[in-house]
Subunit: 593 residues, 2 copies
């Protein structure tokens, strides 16, 4: 199925109407007079008039200055840009439903996102992604989907589901699905693993695109990766890397997320020569950033502040991404295009006055102007997903090996971790936390009701001096991840998250200090984003009382299980040496050896 | 079906091989060292190395300088460009089969064409287009197809077939079909005629593009036309018109054909700001031009001579067109792309040394280096297509009206005609030719065995002083068109073309002076292009003996029935006032009035 929401007789009717309006046989629905239109097709800013006909733009130009319309709005020189398109985002990272996400970014001019439901896919598989499709249907923001390609991400972890070729194909056949999402298993691609290559090629079969994920790949490795037909990358961090990828035909998605920020480094690549092949993406935006800085609008604003030509910056967040994803008639202020538009009070500051979606105003002065459709209730696939094994103190034991033990070290401000060797504190032959030396116990409990395994290790860098913090958001497998100074609080935290059906919690002395329930797949709440932010503030304050001083400690915790980013990680199956792509024992020698 | 020739297990195998070659696990097939690669993705020219793996490009860059390969070719600084793609061409205008067309342009670096089989569709309908698909399958040049949208072109003529929505849909479902061809009935689109709009929308349903044809449209009319979702135009003649179309989101196909030449006027639009939205097309190239100047390579050469940046000129004939038509992995020298390449001795002169198609050399120093597959025999649908009604002198009569009569006037060098009023010479109440005043009789005989009608009128501007010339190529209906100084020679010419199954003929005193049989649909021969040129030379010499001094007189004759280009035309149904889109009587008053 091709990506078009309106088909058949309804499509003929809307086109007939738009043609009649453009030709002057019928009045339009809205006439936007005296707009400074950012024309992304030519890179110009042209003061002119735009006539809408229902969902579509009927015409743009001087010829429409006094065209008939039900409503005439004189923009008096305000700017008009196409609605922005975020080319790659994990909506789950905002911890809210697609509707809540839309409520946050629509007033900022974001009228479409291409989301990769990798997180909910890892927890709830195909039914989880189907819930996301349902929960995002009918919103006044287009939620396009790319199919997660790596569920589970590695064989070193237990995810809640597997997405095989059959499940991926079922999704690719849907009209709102634009391609296969970032193929993170780049070693598998480069090694020519048929099972991985088949996932890239599946997109082709449906006339859709396979997205890439090629951090620091260069030379032969980069070309081997792209030779598989993969079309994009959003992991680029420098201009030399970016230019090499552009030269290699790659669509360069410049990312500015909460965890990883690449815009400043890559902005020099945004010139007319390259611009058509560059798109803006947010990847992951946490609630605070989303509320304070925004979504992909933040990249446009920052790019302009970095000196990028405003029309080129807007191109990167509109027509370029639409063209890459073969989205027809989106991302430009042009006849026949879907009337997704943002009126700006100021272009450079990207201050949005009014947003039109499908030709109708949906947000004004930073607030939604329409009711969002009632969210469908969470389906069984995405509720009750925290299914812990029976847990007792024995399950959290870590027998002390002779000598030093591996310990994860958080690197401030990065999702990288380092492996450090420490001499652990022990009690009765068991490794225990040592808050004096900032050594907390880290556990990862399989929570999908499958293998029931528990990984145990040490982490430093959190600053935890008492109690425990825990999360069921834990990339990419989303098992239960907890760090604590004592087993009793670790167990209490786990029990509380099981009761909540997932979320974040801070515990001390067996008492819950703060919590955020995330009952949908253990990843997302149906509560408003502002409430999520308030709960996170309370959680961070509680963590602070426990000694944690790093910013966004629950996000940091959620990345400690990410077995695809160096250096040392902990999953339900144990410690992972990422570079070697294998499980490793805690010590240099075996326990008691 | 998506446009990819290699699918399923074969696709997996070729990708696996390309990845292995790029990664260095297997030797490549060809290593092209020390090439000056025109990188159309970045607009740069980079001296580097290109490694091929069968049909695909495995890698590009310094890392491949000494990569293993079955064959190593040191290009010693010669240029390397992607194989050129002609975005819109009526192959039938070359009067030869697709294989012969390929033989002419492949050595010039043209590795793909997007053809609009409008002519054979008008004669032989869906089976005719299916013959063309068969006759172009397996060539070492990709022949992509757009489905003719206007067969017949107008209700004022009798074509050999109709292409309705069902026939169009059957074609759109085929993988080599990229879209719906130029929707010439722009008045129908602008008027909102559902039957015409449905043809544009049909392309969408298959995820393909509807091409446009919007000569001189501007303002509300242009926007009404594009509001129907139409994506391109190739009729643009000036920069102001071109800029308006680019601003309106239109993909601008710059045309340089035999009959109409727009490159010089539009070259100033080819700047980095616009280039991604511009493609080069030849539309119609007659045999002489094809042999002397070439195909779409001629546009690249001329554009560079006009001062266009060479890399941008190459973009317009490669990746831009591929992207517009959503052709995956074509039109760039990049990993994973199909290895369609041209090695140039000189970039500015665009002198082609070697051409690679699907990774294999297919032409060297201006000559094909491979055997073309044997053409399938013409099918019954495309043979015996000249089915004239019984014709006698009575059928060519034109009763003299009172006073003046309308006469078509050829405009030298254009396909426009003018209407002039002349006082005709008459004999026994019938209008006859008057060579002294350059008034020839013009007849159009329905030749598809359908209505059997004959249109009769006068033409001036040919210079015919004796005999007759005739053609079964007659845009768009391709009835038999003949101009003569006497009915006997007109009848003799028609009889001869019926015997030949179509073609061109020059007759005087009842004797054939020269002829070119075009037995396939009355449009095309299976003979070599050089023979066609020689026959055309003989025909033009014969026409010259009869007084015709204009260049390419048979081409001129073939446009006298084109009822969609102003001002006056003749079809089998009579004289057509194009602006009024209706049949008109020869005189101001009725015959004998």
């Amino acid at each position: 199925m091709q990506p078009e929401q309106v088909q058949g007789a309804a499509r003929l009717a809307e086109v007939r109407f738009a043609v009649a309006v453009a030709a002057g046989r019928q009045p339009g629905t809205v006439l936007l007079q005296n707009a400074q239109v950012v024309n992304v097709c030519t890179g110009e800013i042209v003061r002119t008039h735009v006539l809408l006909a229902g969902r579509l733009i009927a015409g743009v130009g001087e010829a429409f200055a006094t065209a008939g319309a039900e409503q005439v709005v004189d923009l008096s020189g305000r700017w008009l840009v196409p609605g922005l398109i975020d080319g790659h985002v994990h909506l789950e990272s905002a911890l809210v439903t697609p509707a809540e996400y839309a409520r946050a970014v629509l007033p900022r001019g974001v009228t479409a996102v291409v989301c990769d439901p990798h997180e909910i896919g890892n927890v709830a598989g195909l039914p989880g992604i189907q819930w996301l499709l349902q929960a995002s249907a009918g919103l006044p923001m287009d939620v396009w989907v790319t199919v997660p390609s790596c569920v589970p991400a590695t064989p070193l972890e237990t995810a809640g589901a597997e997405l095989g070729l059959a499940e991926m194909a079922a999704l690719l056949d849907q009209p709102r699905v634009l391609g296969v999402a970032e193929i993170m298993n780049f070693p598998g691609v480069i090694a020519g693993d048929d099972r991985i290559l088949a996932r890239a090629l599946l997109a082709e079969r449906y006339g859709k695109v396979p997205d890439g994920h090629a951090p620091l790949l260069s030379g032969r490795a980069l070309h081997a990766y792209l030779a598989a037909g993969i079309g994009s990358d959003h992991e680029c961090t420098g201009t030399a890397e970016g230019l090499e990828k552009l030269r290699a035909g790659c669509f360069l998605m410049i990312r500015e997320g909460s965890a990883t920020r690449n815009l400043t480094a890559l902005a020099p690549l945004i010139t007319p020569r390259h611009t058509g092949r560059i798109g803006f993406v947010t990847d992951d935006r946490f609630p605070h950033d989303l509320l304070s800085a925004g979504g992909v609008d933040d990249l446009v604003r920052r790019a302009i502040a970095l000196g990028v030509d405003p029309a080129l910056a807007v191109q990167c967040a509109t027509c370029n991404t639409a063209r890459y994803f073969r989205l027809p008639r989106r991302g430009a202020v042009a006849p026949g295009y879907v009337a997704d538009l943002a009126v700006l009070d100021d272009l450079a500051a990207f201050t949005v006055a009014t947003v039109y979606k499908n030709g109708a105003p949906v947000a004004t002065d930073g607030r939604l102007a329409v009711e969002l459709p009632a969210a469908p209730p969470p389906t069984p696939a995405v509720t009750g997903t925290v299914r812990l094994p029976p847990l007792g103190p024995a399950d959290l034991r870590l027998a002390a090996p002779a000598g030093e033990i591996r310990c994860l070290r958080l690197v401030p401000g990065q999702i990288l971790t380092e492996q450090v060797w420490v001499q652990p504190r022990t009690e009765a032959g068991q490794v225990v936390a040592d808050p004096e030396r900032d050594l907390a116990k880290l556990v990862c409990v399989e929570r999908h009701g499958r293998r029931g395994g528990v990984g145990v290790g040490l982490v430093t860098g959190l600053g935890l001096r008492a109690g425990a913090i825990a999360s069921t958001v834990a990339h990419d497998h989303h098992n239960l991840m907890a760090a604590g100074t004592n087993d009793a609080d670790l167990l209490a935290a786990a029990r509380r998250l099981a009761e909540l059906g997932g979320g974040f919690v801070a515990v001390a002395g067996g008492r819950v200090l703060a919590e955020l329930p995330l009952p949908i797949a253990g990843l997302v709440t149906d509560q408003p984003l502002e409430q999520v932010r308030a709960a996170l503030d309370r959680l961070e304050a509680a963590a602070g009382q426990l000694g944690v001083q790093i910013p966004a400690p629950f996000m940091a915790l959620s990345f400690l299980g990410l077995a695809v980013i160096p250096e040392l990680r902990l999953t339900d199956r144990g410690l992972v040496d990422v570079a070697a792509a294998r499980l490793v024992p805690p010590g240099r020698l075996s326990a008691g050896g």
